[in-house]
C-alpha cells in the first residue's frame, strides 16, 4: 500500500442525508476512493458521533433540505463542536433558483458547495484537497493543546515554588498576591525568616513575557531559595544579596533578560526596614491611611543583570523607620499596567491605586482583615472597570504584627497536623478570653470542619500543598464570628468530591453528617454563614452562637 492510500485509509468522512440512496452512493464513492465513511440518516445521530469522535473525521458531507433540520442549522451545531471541521453541502438545489443557499454556504470559510450531479473525479479531488487542509488544521490544534498543557504544568510548577500566600509570626506578618498576565509569569517573590525577628522579602520582575521570562523566573526563584537558606545568609545586607543575584544573572541569564528587584529586610522588633530597589518601584509605606514617600534621595541601583559591571553598595540601601501601625507594600510595575481596555490605553493611575490601597490598608489593619487585603483591592479595581492585565502582577505587604484587642488572627498550612495545632491555639486564646468551654468546642469544630474540607477537596492538583488558610475570630455579643480565607475551589468543597449536581451534593452532605462531619452539621451549629469571593480568594464568615442558644431553642421546641 502506498503512502497516499494509507493516508486516505485514515481519513474518514461523515455523510448525513435522509435519503438512503444518497447515503449509499456517497459511501460507495468514498470507499472506492479509499476513504473511510460513516453514513447516517439524521442530524441527531451525526451530532452524537461528532461529539464523541470529532477528531476521527476529516469532513462532513450533508444535504441542505432534510426532514427534521436544514443543513445550515446542522452546520451551526457542528461549529459548536468543531470550529475547523470542513462541511460539504451536497444538494440537488439549483443555484439559479434564487433561494440564496449558495451565499449561505459560502458565508462560512470552510463550507463547500457540491451539486448532487457532481462527477466522481471532481468530488474526490475536492475532498482530497480539503482533507489535506484539515490535517494541517488538526495538527496545529493538537500542537496548541499540547503547548497549553505544558504551559499549565509550568504555571503549576511556578506557583509551587512561591512561598505560602500569607504568614503570621508572633512579631510580624506578610501577605501576597501573584498573578500571571497569561498562563506563566516572569514575576517572582520570596519571603524567608532571616535571623531573629527578621524577614527577608525579595520581589523580582524578569523583563519580557512568556516562556523565556517564566524560565528565568524559575531559575532565579530556585537560586534565591538556596541562597537565603544557606549558613550565614542572615548576615547579608540587601546590597550584598543584590550583588550575588547580579553575578548569578550575568553568569546564567545575561543573554536572556534582566530583572528589576526590590530586596527588603524587615526587622519587626527594631521597627525598621532596610531595602534596595534595583530598578523596581520604590517600597511604599502606608500609615494611618496615608501614603508616605520613603526614598526622597532616590537611592537605588540599576536592574539586576542589565549591565555587566553593576555593583550595589550600602549607599544604595534605604533604611525606613516604621511605627507600629505602618504597613509596607512592595509591588511589580504590572499593577500600573492594569487597564480598562484590552489594548491598555486607559491604565490605572498610580495615585488612584495608592489612595485606594491606603484606605483598604487602614481598614484591614483596624478590622484584622489583612490576609484579604490584595484580593479586596483587586475587587475595587475590577468594580472601577480595570479588568485587563497587560503584565504580570505581584503585590506583597508586610508589617509588624499588632494584636488587636478581642481579635484572634492566625495563618496556617492546610495539613491535618497544622489544622489541629491551629485549632488548639485558637482554643487557648478563647479560654484566655473567658469563653464558655462548650462554645469553644463548637468553634473548634466549625474551624476544623471547614479547613479539613478545603484540605480534602479544595484543590484540583496536589502541587498546591503549600496552601494556607488565614483565620480571624472575634466575639460579637453572644456570637463568635469566625472568618476563614482560602484559595481553594470557590464552590462548597464537597461538590468537587461528589460531582457537580446539587442532588449528589445534598446526598453526600447527608451521609457525611451521619458520621459527625459535613456541612449540614456546620449549618446546624451556625446562626448564619456568609460566603464572599474576591478573585481567587474565598471568604467564609461563620456566626456561631456562644451559649448553645440554637440547641436550647431546639430542645424547647
Amino acid at each position: 500500500m502506498n503512502r497516499i492510500s494509507e493516508e486516505r485509509d485514515r481519513a474518514k468522512i461523515l455523510v448525513v442525508d435522509d435519503e438512503k440512496l444518497v447515503r449509499l452512493v456517497m459511501s460507495a464513492r468514498l470507499r472506492q476512493a479509499g476513504y473511510g465513511c460513516v453514513a447516517v440518516g439524521d442530524v441527531e445521530s451525526a451530532v452524537a458521533i461528532l461529539k464523541k469522535e470529532r477528531k476521527d473525521f476529516s469532513a462532513v458531507i450533508t444535504d441542505i433540505v432534510m426532514g427534521n433540520m436544514d443543513g445550515f442549522d446542522f452546520r451551526d451545531i457542528i461549529r459548536g463542536i468543531d470550529s475547523s471541521m470542513p462541511v460539504f453541502f451536497l444538494t440537488a438545489l439549483d443555484p439559479e433558483e434564487g433561494s440564496g443557499f449558495l451565499k449561505r454556504i459560502l458565508n462560512d470559510p470552510i463550507s463547500y458547495y457540491m451539486p448532487k450531479s457532481v462527477p466522481n473525479e471532481v468530488l474526490i479531488r475536492r475532498i482530497k484537497q480539503v482533507v489535506a487542509s484539515r490535517r494541517v488544521a488538526m495538527f496545529i490544534e493538537q500542537k496548541l493543546e499540547d503547548d497549553q498543557k505544558s504551559m499549565q504544568l509550568a504555571a503549576n510548577i511556578q506557583y509551587s515554588m512561591l512561598p505560602v500566600r500569607s504568614v503570621m509570626t508572633p512579631r510580624g506578618f506578610y501577605t501576597s498576591w501573584w498573578r500571571p498576565a497569561e498562563t506563566v509569569s516572569g514575576d517572582l517573590y520570596e519571603a524567608v525568616p532571616f535571623g531573629f525577628g527578621c524577614y527577608l522579602y525579595v520581589l523580582g520582575d524578569i523583563q519580557g513575557h512568556g516562556t523565556s521570562a517564566a524560565l528565568a523566573m524559575t531559575a532565579v526563584q530556585s537560586f534565591l531559595k538556596t541562597l537565603t537558606r544557606r549558613e550565614g545568609a542572615p548576615y547579608m545586607t540587601p546590597a550584598e544579596i543584590a550583588n550575588v543575584l547580579q553575578r548569578f544573572f550575568r553568569k546564567n541569564l545575561a543573554d536572556v533578560s534582566y530583572m528589576t528587584a526590590l530586596i527588603c529586610l524587615h526587622r519587626a522588633v527594631e521597627g525598621t526596614t532596610s531595602w534596595i530597589s534595583c530598578g523596581a518601584p520604590d517600597l511604599v509605606v502606608i500609615d494611618g491611611g496615608k501614603y508616605i514617600r520613603v526614598n526622597p534621595e532616590k537611592r537605588g541601583g540599576m536592574p539586576i543583570g542589565m549591565m555587566p559591571d553593576t555593583v550595589y553598595t550600602e549607599d544604595d540601601i534605604v533604611t525606613t523607620n516604621m511605627t507600629d501601625t505602618a504597613v509596607c507594600i512592595a509591588y511589580t510595575d504590572g499593577i500600573l499596567d492594569l487597564s480598562r481596555d484590552p489594548e491598555g490605553m486607559e491604565r490605572l493611575p498610580q495615585e488612584q491605586s495608592m489612595r485606594a490601597l491606603a484606605e483598604l490598608v487602614d481598614e484591614a489593619r483596624e478590622k484584622g482583615t489583612l490576609p484579604a487585603l490584595f484580593a479586596k483591592f483587586m475587587k475595587v479595581c475590577e468594580e472601577n472597570g480595570y479588568t485587563y492585565f497587560q503584565d504580570d502582577v505581584t503585590l506583597l505587604t508586610f508589617s509588624k504584627r499588632l494584636p488587636i484587642e478581642g481579635v484572634y488572627e492566625d495563618t496556617f498550612l492546610l495539613h491535618p497536623a497544622e489544622i489541629d495545632s491551629a485549632s488548639q491555639k485558637m482554643a487557648d486564646w478563647c479560654r484566655s478570653q473567658g469563653w464558655p468551654q462548650s462554645s469553644i468546642g463548637i468553634v473548634q469544630l466549625v474551624l476544623e470542619e471547614k479547613t479539613m474540607n478545603i484540605y480534602d477537596h479544595g484543590f484540583d492538583d496536589r502541587t498546591r500543598l503549600h496552601e494556607v488558610a488565614s483565620i480571624r475570630l472575634t466575639r460579637i455579643e453572644d456570637s463568635a464570628c469566625l472568618t476563614v480565607w482560602d484559595n481553594g475551589t470557590p464552590q462548597p468543597s464537597l461538590m468537587v468530591a461528589t460531582g457537580d449536581s446539587e442532588v449528589a451534593f445534598e446526598i453526600a452532605n447527608s451521609k457525611m453528617s451521619n458520621h459527625g462531619r459535613g456541612r449540614l452539621m456546620v449549618r446546624e451549629l451556625c446562626d448564619m454563614i456568609e460566603h464572599n469571593q474576591y478573585g481567587t480568594l474565598n471568604e467564609a464568615i461563620y456566626h456561631i452562637p456562644l451559649k448553645g442558644k440554637k440547641k436550647e431553642e431546639a430542645n424547647n421546641a
Binding site: L21, L24, V25, A28, R29, Q32, V65, L93, P119
Partner: protein, 102 residues
Amino acid sequence: MKECCEKYLAEQFGGDEDIMREIYGEYVQSVHEKIGELKTALDASNWQSADKIAHTVKGNALAAGDAEVSNLAIELRKASALNDIVQCRSLLAKIEELAKGL
C-alpha cells in the same frame, strides 16, 4: 438496468457491478415510493410537501444518472410552485410511466 443509468453508474463506479446493482435497485424502489407520496400530496393539494418530494426525486434521479426523471421532477416543482394541479398530475403520470420501465 436503464441504459443512461447503467452508463452513468459504470462511469462513477468503474464498472463495479455489485455497487451498480445495489444503487440502481435502491433508486427504483425510491422512485416508486415517492410516486405514491406525490399522489397523496397532490390529492391533498399539499404543495409544500409535493415540492419537497419532487426535490427528493430529482436528487435521487441525479444520483442514479436518470436525467429524464430528474428533468420531470424539476418541471413538477415549478408546476407545484404555481399550484397547477393539472400540470402536476400530467408530469407525475409521465414519471410513473418512466418508472414502469426501470
